[in-house]
Symmetry: D2
């Protein structure tokens, strides 16, 4: 089963640069919007995880820019969970023009688990193993 959530993005006037398009650093915020929408849909919100005793800092991000984003466009961020055996949380993102269906950007983030003492969890925390099985994620 594929875990994926589509979320409309709120593009702010202040996010458009002097070239008249969304400044490239703002795509990172849209990815976060997508991750939060995913968390809301699948019970994996920042505060849920925090209460389980963990943070999930990002250790890697990338973004490929396909088309500039205009202020007046309506943009959808599609956030897809990528199952991994390792003690990591991986998402892939696609920014899509609602009007034309075109792909505007693609990206990926990798998150790890640390506890409240900031210690890296080399083994997947039990709460996340449970989350995975409750959503039918099975590693071959």
């Amino acid at each position: 089963m594929e875990l994926v959530v589509d979320q409309e993005v709120n593009i702010r006037f202040s996010e458009v640069d002097s070239m008249g398009v969304v400044w490239h650093g703002n795509h990172v915020k849209y990815f976060e919007d997508g991750r939060e929408a995913f968390g809301k849909e699948y019970n994996l919100e920042y505060m849920d995880v925090y209460r389980k005793g963990f943070f999930m800092p990002i250790v890697s991000i990338n973004c490929e820019y396909k088309k500039p984003i205009q202020y007046e466009q309506t943009v959808i961020v599609r956030t897809k969970y990528i199952p991994k055996k390792a003690s990591k949380l991986i998402f892939e993102y696609t920014l899509i023009s609602k009007e034309t269906g075109e792909t505007l950007a693609e990206g990926k983030t990798v998150q790890v688990f640390i506890n409240h003492n900031r210690e890296l969890q080399l083994v997947t925390p039990p709460f996340f193993e449970e989350w995975k099985s409750s959503h039918g994620i099975i590693h071959q």
Copy 2:
């Protein structure tokens, strides 16, 4: 004695909007740059205050925009401490063009003191009374 600090501001490309000038919300960041430069100069940094047991949240801000700020301009933020008897910390800011000396914007912030339990301090905390006297601030 007047307590005032001049600090050059780092204007980022991402802070310029599609009208080709610095987006108005970014002036708030420049005020903060000024406040930090002031804190560094006069031993009133965020972390100094934190270690004394307090935060100084902003409860009021205003900004009057006189001239648009262009990306290529060099901007100075002049931060001036405004002495008050009340348990408050007040700064006035002037954004100045380094090239022409023109005033680009003027603003003001009001901060209060809260302790780490988030309780408002109606009486000026002793550390801040000491800070004031060490800098020759006398209220008539």
Copy 3:
């Protein structure tokens, strides 16, 4: 007739500071969200005005912070048009907790009209006079 629009605000994780509350500069973004929602509702969007030949830069802003905003709160920005005879556009904003109805912050912006040559319009542009009459704004 009162022109007012309520809009739910998207609070981003990245907008929360190390004190655990929304950083004070982000309220300016929420005001802009409110202004855009107002523009959408009452045909006064940035691009509408641009096509009429004008920009509406902000010349004054202020914000009074009543309560800190937490990441998990749902916040409504209420944007109210304040009628003026002068060649200005004035909005008042209230940030309201959706959960408790409490006022979290109050603010105000003043905008002026400039044409595409960046010339200040001391007389209200005709398109804005029309906008006012079409919305029943009568100055006594």
Copy 4:
């Protein structure tokens, strides 16, 4: 010859998140600070390129986060030009703790050239070929 510039980064209070470390999206701003410092050093500033008739939009970015950045840290961004025959501009970035010399993050951006009509330049623009030879960049 290696073209590389070290620039101290201004870490803002507003860039630190509720986990007490710099929010991951802000590293993109530090990379831009590095790119601008590079442009200033080697005559490749945004406005220089603009006046030659071009923009250099970013088409790809990535960042690997090695250590969290604290508010009180002093951070250096090291920006290194990576010579390519293709009509592209590639930089690698290292964020370094000034205090300890540790690597805090590593990243890379790829930029392309478009003219003022937003047309992609598949062949390296002459001004950039000149820039390369004037800095001794020779492709084998």
